[in-house]
Structure formats: structure tokens, C-alpha cells
Symmetry: C2
Subunit: 432 residues, 2 copies
């Protein structure tokens, strides 16, 4: 596809949606937007668009899931009855350990990646397992199915924070395997440039100081981005205070892990100094509002972080959250913020526009991905949504109401087309 | 259908699920379950089941939505940015007033009822509009599309709590129109006995004392059930205290409206005396956890009410809540209860089994409907769910995990068949 005529809606800033009513979007050969112009001024006869999306549909940017544990896909929706530490040791680590079998891993990735694309997740920031081969296979699956992704081998070597049967052999092995994973992913054939590696220490309780320091050095040397968890629960927050005498965010910074586009999952216990640290470093938070209900003891204060200049995206936290849908997290983010507002912080409330911004442009900015807005220079990752499928009445519903309905009501059944880098990768419309 | 072979799962009590593994369910001519027996002991050759549901699917009871505002369907998912009172006057009453046009009403019902059936809502407790004709048309649509329902004309006559252009003419007219609506619905042809009327004062702020007293007398004379809202928000709670010097529940009781199977929506501000009143009367609460986020200022304390013997069901509160799915309310009910637990009431947490019980048997018991469990004597209202569509791995997932996945992950795309009174009324399986 090189030229598409459509109506599109996006939230380039946290404060407002913008409707691009009947525009023509021109792409280059790798799916980057070259121009967006009113279609009314273009002579379709002499230069026809090769895709025309009718007025019964609207495009939105593809969803950016900033926090996905890929090997937890088989347990999505189960086992949310335990506190975080027990959940890891009793359910999660045993499942992730199975990914030593790369064939099993491939079978899971080949279910998961298409399922997430069908949910409109055109870009994902993945934790793999601790296995280099399974993680490379995940990157290959993303390229194969056409999903944009950052893919990280999980580093985890601490004898107290990991079980003997699912642990890197040593701090050196932990860093070396992470470096090898970066090399393997960077060596892959990937003509559209969809996939990049990301350095992924699981979280401080699972990593030795030596591994954390080595991974910080690896980030500096390789230039690869970093992701990890940060002060998710009372337990993790207290762990950092006990071990380092400082907050988790500051401890991670001491190891050189708070860098531009570092993605910190959850971060529900940030204080003002943490927010300043993240904002000045260009790092930010993968806000996983539904997961937080089960594991974080409190909601993440999204408004306070945005106000402090911290980058914020949304994440499903598959499978710490039971839903695979980033769009659904918009509603959950509003619910979480309303709780903070009801508890006394009247400025805490997010509206749906801001939540949608976080699910698209916000997540892209956080992770340093060239998506999330319909602007020249951005990659064309998008979803076409059937207005009929979300109950839009053209007489009753202006664009503001159509927007509300699409955020609250759209899902895979309403997604007629999903594109990544201009390639159609999912959708219900079998005519294409 | 008179005999069906399947595996089914239900939650006959709040505390446990029961798996009916490979059973034969026999129905009578109006869809009531006559017997449930292990299929292994039955000779299929001599007495074949006319429907056989394979091991790749599981049946659950149909969902009971105990709180739906039918005329708000066109605004589902929109306009949740205002407090309750302004939301009513600025968005909701103008929309409901359109249902004076019975043709418009029919067009909405013919979209909504099939959509709710596709979401697995086999039984709904409906508020119509204040129009007798539109409300009767809703009852007709339920019979026509095969949905079980209680259908109530909304009584609202108070000059302060309603706008001049959407108000019953007088207390007498309010009671007379309600009586006429009962007569019209009871006179309908309805061979399966799917639909019954329900007396529906909107809520105390919208009704005069004379109307409330008259509707209480009408309930006593007609035997029809009652529904209304009760202490939903700070505003409504304060209104009753100011007007009556007592809680909303006790004020409603003074008018004879707290009766067996009275369905009180929201009730987020109940105190211990209210709970005792409801429990002894056999009345209960339509718990609408997602709606409460937007309009109630606080979650309903479901556990405390269950512990006091109050009947509790789940409701979407279409369109005070943006989701049409009762199954989705199970997750929202857990989220709401977790908030109460995080705020200090450690006993407040609902687990998924209890939430599912409320969505099925609990709602049925509250509303006095003969559904919600797979037992002889119950009507066969059920949903068949594709295990593949909810990501079940037969090797990995025992029944407990399959149950978790079906509650968290199932939706219309996974519902292969939906039956009401033994008749197939919706579902994705086009082979049937």
C-alpha cells in the first residue's frame, strides 16, 4: 500500500483528539508516512488511492503495549489470587522455565503474536524468558507475523529472588546471555526494521548487584534500551529500601539503568524525587492499571507523573493482568485514577482522551518507537474500526461521542483492518 | 431441543464451582430442565441426544443482568464525564424523551436485545422509558428475540427531580400508567413465559411521595415485583436523609416498596440497618461495579451485604456503565472489592467464583427468576463457550484454570451458542 484515503482520529497530545476528516495518507516503501493531505483536493482519477476506507469506518493509531511477559501468555486470565512473590514462585517461574524448549516457545509465540495483532497491538515491549533461543524465536515471530516489538531476554541471577531451576548461572552469565541475545536479534533479517532488542533485568529482587551493574554497562556500550520493573508492590518497594537504603528507581539509576526510553513497569510507589529522576533521564513508566489491582496494592499516580514530565504508556502486563487488550486498559486507567480522586486527590482523574493518548503516542514516546500519531515521518501502524460494530449512530454521535464509543466498546470484532508499517497484518474484513 | 449432551460448569453457591462432566440434560417442551444425568450411563444409540456439545466447549448458565436502562442503549460508552445529577439532565433525560416515538423505540430494541443476547445476557431486568407504549414494545422485542426479562415502565413525576419535558403528568398518572404497563405486558402472547412486568419508580429524587405510596400499593395489589435505585451516590444518599430523615432504603420501605425480590440498583451507601431490612424482606441489590466508578463515589460492599443475607446480583447499568457485558462485570466486581480491601477492609475481597455466582445464580435469586443453575426445575438458559477461543490448553489447564479463563477472557466471539428456555437465540456457530 502506498496511498490510503480515510478518516482518522488520534491524540497527538494528552489533552485533545484531532480528527483528520477524509484525508489521503501517502507512504514510502517501508511504511513511513510521507504526507497527509485533505482528500478533497486530490484528483482520484489521475492518482487513485490503492486503499479507500469508507465513511463507515475510522482509523486510529495502533496500540502500543509497553509491558508484556510473552511466556506468561498460556496463563493469561488465571491464577491472580496470590500476592506477587508467591504468584511468581508458584505459577509464573514454573511456566517460564518451560521455554527452555524452543519448540514449545515457538508454538506459544505463533498463537500469541497474531492474537495480540487481532487486539490491535501493533507494537509491544516484550519480556521473553531467560532463554536466549526462545527470546530470539520471539523476535522472529514478531518479524514473521509483522508486529513491531522491543524484545528482551530476561536477566535474573539472584539466588534469593529466583528459584534454582529458573536462574541465570552467574552474574557474568546473566550479562553475557543478555549481550548474546542483543547480537542475535540485531543479526536477524528484518527489512522493515520492526524489531529491536531491549536489555531486561527482571527486577531488583531477582538480580545481583553485579548483574545489574554489568547490564548498565551493556546498555551504555550497546546503546540498547532498558526495561525492568520498579517498585510495583509494597514488597518490591520495601526490598529496595532494605537492600539499598534508597528507592528502587534511584537504585536502578545507580546501576546505570535509568536512561533515555528506559521502560519501568508499574512504579506505583514513586515519590517526587523519583519522578524528577525519570523526567530528567527521559525514562518513564509502563502503567498497567488492571494488573495493579491484583499485585500493586495501590494505583499508579499517572497524572502526577505526567505533570512532572515523566513519559507514560499503558501496558497489559500479560499475564499479571488478565486482559490482552491495550484499548481496554484505557478504561481501567480511568477507573484507577478515579479511585485516587475518590480517595482525596481531586487532580488525579484521567479522562478518556489522555488514557487513549497513553495507549498510543504516550507509549510510543516512552519506548522510543516512531508510531502513535498520524504525522509525516511516523510509521503507519493503524487500526480501522467499524463504526457500526461499536454502536455509532451517525445522526446522534458527533466525533467526541464516536471517540468515546470506540475507546469503550471497540475490540477485535470491530477491527476490520490492522496495519503495521503499511502492511495489513490482521482484521475481520475478509474482502482485503 | 429436548436432550443435550455436554459438559457444564456453574456456581450454585457463592463459594464453589461445580463441574458437570459429560452429562445429559433433558428438557420439557417449555425449556425447563427435567433431569441431568451422567451421559456415560446412557445408551445414545437407543435414545440419541439432539444436541451434542463436544469436549472443546463448555456450558455455563446464561448471564443475568439485574440493571439495564434500555433507552440509554444509544449512548452506551459515552458521556461519563459528569456527576450523576448533571448526567441525567444533560444527556440521559433528553435521550429517553425520544422514546415517545414508539417507532424509534422499536428500532433501538431490535438492535439492543440481539446485541445483549450475543453478549450472553439471557435474562435482563429492564428500565424502559416513562412511555407505556415504548415499554410494551420492549417487552414484545424480548419475546420476539427470545430473551427472558422483567420490563418496567419508569415512573417519575417529581417537579424537582425531573425536567418538565420528561415527567409523568401527576402522581395519579404515574401510578395509572404503571398499572396500564403491567396490564399490557401481562396481556402479551408469551408462550414460554419469558417476560413479566416490574414496577419501576425511577428513584426517590424523581418521584413524589404520593406516587411512591401509590406504586407501593400497586405492588401489593398486583403482586408485580419492584425495582428502583437506592442511595447510589453521595447526592442521592443525602437527598433521602434530607427529605425523610432516614436512609433511602428505609424511606422506600415506608412506601411499601421493599418486598420480596425488590431489586435496588447500586446501594453503595447501605448501613447495617439497611442490610438487615433488605435481608428480612427478601430484597437485594443490583451491584453495578463499573458504573459505580463513574457515578457512585465509592464501591458497593458486596461481601458485607452477602454476609448479612442480602441477595446480590450483577448489573451493567447500561448506560451508566460503558460495557454491555455482565461477564465483564465479574472482573470489575473483583476490582471494586480489591479497592475496599486495599482501603482497610480485608474481608471485602470477592473472588472470581463469587463474582460469577452473582452474575448467574445470585442475580436470578435476587430477581426471582428460575435460572442461573443447572438443576432440575430450572429453565435451561445457557451459553456454550469455545475453549480454544479463550486460550485453554487442555494439557495445562485444569477446571479451575478453565473457569478463570472463561470469566476473564470469554466474550461474544467465544460464545458458540446462547440458549433461552432451550431455544437457541444467539451464538457464533453457524452450523446450527
Amino acid at each position: 500500500m502506498t496511498a490510503l484515503r480515510c478518516t482518522a482520529i488520534h491524540a497527538p497530545t494528552p489533552d485533545a483528539i484531532e480528527v483528520l476528516d477524509d484525508v489521503r495518507i501517502v507512504l514510502d516503501e517501508v511504511g513511513t508516512i510521507v504526507s497527509i493531505e485533505p482528500a478533497s483536493g486530490i484528483d482520484e482519477a489521475s492518482a487513485p488511492s490503492d486503499v479507500v476506507v469508507g465513511p463507515d469506518r475510522v482509523l486510529v493509531p495502533g496500540m502500543v503495549d509497553t509491558h508484556v511477559h510473552a511466556p506468561q501468555w498460556p496463563q493469561l486470565g488465571t491464577g491472580l489470587d496470590l500476592p506477587l512473590e508467591r504468584w511468581l514462585f508458584e505459577y509464573t517461574f514454573p511456566l517460564e522455565a518451560r521455554f527452555a524448549d524452543t519448540g514449545y516457545a515457538r508454538s506459544v509465540w505463533d498463537q500469541m503474536v497474531p492474537a495480540l495483532l487481532a487486539h490491535g497491538t501493533t507494537a509491544a515491549v516484550y519480556y521473553g524468558s531467560r532463554h536466549v533461543e526462545a527470546t530470539t524465536a520471539l523476535a522472529e515471530a514478531c518479524v514473521g507475523h509483522g508486529q513491531r516489538a522491543l524484545v528482551g531476554r530476561v536477566a535474573m541471577d539472584h539466588p534469593d529472588g529466583t528459584p534454582e531451576w529458573y536462574r541465570d548461572e552467574s552474574p557474568t552469565a546473566s550479562v553475557d546471555d543478555s549481550a548474546r541475545s542483543i547480537d542475535d536479534i540485531e543479526a536477524m533479517a528484518d527489512p522493515l526494521g520492526l524489531v529491536e532488542p531491549i536489555i531486561t533485568p527482571r527486577f531488583t529482587p531477582a538480580c545481583t548487584d553485579a548483574a545489574l551493574a554489568g547490564l548498565g554497562q551493556l546498555a551504555e556500550l550497546s546503546g540498547a534500551r532498558v526495561q525492568t520493573h520498579c517498585s510495583e508492590s509494597d514488597w518490591e518497594h520495601g526490598h529496595a529500601l532494605d537492600r539499598y537504603g534508597m528507592t528502587d528507581a534511584h537504585a536502578l539509576d545507580r546501576f546505570g539503568l535509568i536512561r533515555p526510553h528506559t521502560v519501568l513497569a508499574h512504579a506505583t510507589h514513586l515519590d517526587d524525587a523519583d519522578r524528577s529522576l525519570l523526567a530528567s533521564a527521559g525514562a518513564g513508566v509502563a502503567h498497567c492499571p488492571l494488573s495493579n489491582v491484583y499485585f500493586a496494592n495501590r494505583p499508579f499516580a499517572a497524572r502526577a507523573s505526567l505533570g512532572a514530565g515523566v513519559a507514560v504508556g499503558l501496558g497489559t502486563d500479560i499475564a499479571g493482568g488478565p486482559s490482552p487488550s491495550v484499548l481496554a486498559q484505557c478504561g481501567h486507567a480511568v477507573v484507577a485514577s478515579q479511585r485516587l480522586a475518590d480517595e482525596g486527590d481531586r487532580d488525579a482523574r484521567l479522562d478518556l482522551v489522555t488514557a487513549f493518548h497513553l495507549a498510543t503516542a504516550g507509549g510510543a514516546d516512552l519506548a522510543g518507537l516512531p508510531v502513535g500519531r498520524f504525522v509525516p515521518g511516523a510509521a503507519f501502524d493503524a487500526i480501522a474500526i467499524s463504526l457500526d460494530a461499536i454502536g455509532v449512530d451517525p445522526d446522534l454521535d458527533d466525533w467526541s461521542r464516536r471517540f468515546d464509543k470506540l475507546v469503550h466498546r471497540a475490540g477485535p470484532a470491530a477491527f476490520t483492518d490492522v496495519w503495521v508499517a503499511g502492511r495489513r497484518v490482521a482484521g475481520t474484513d475478509h474482502q482485503h
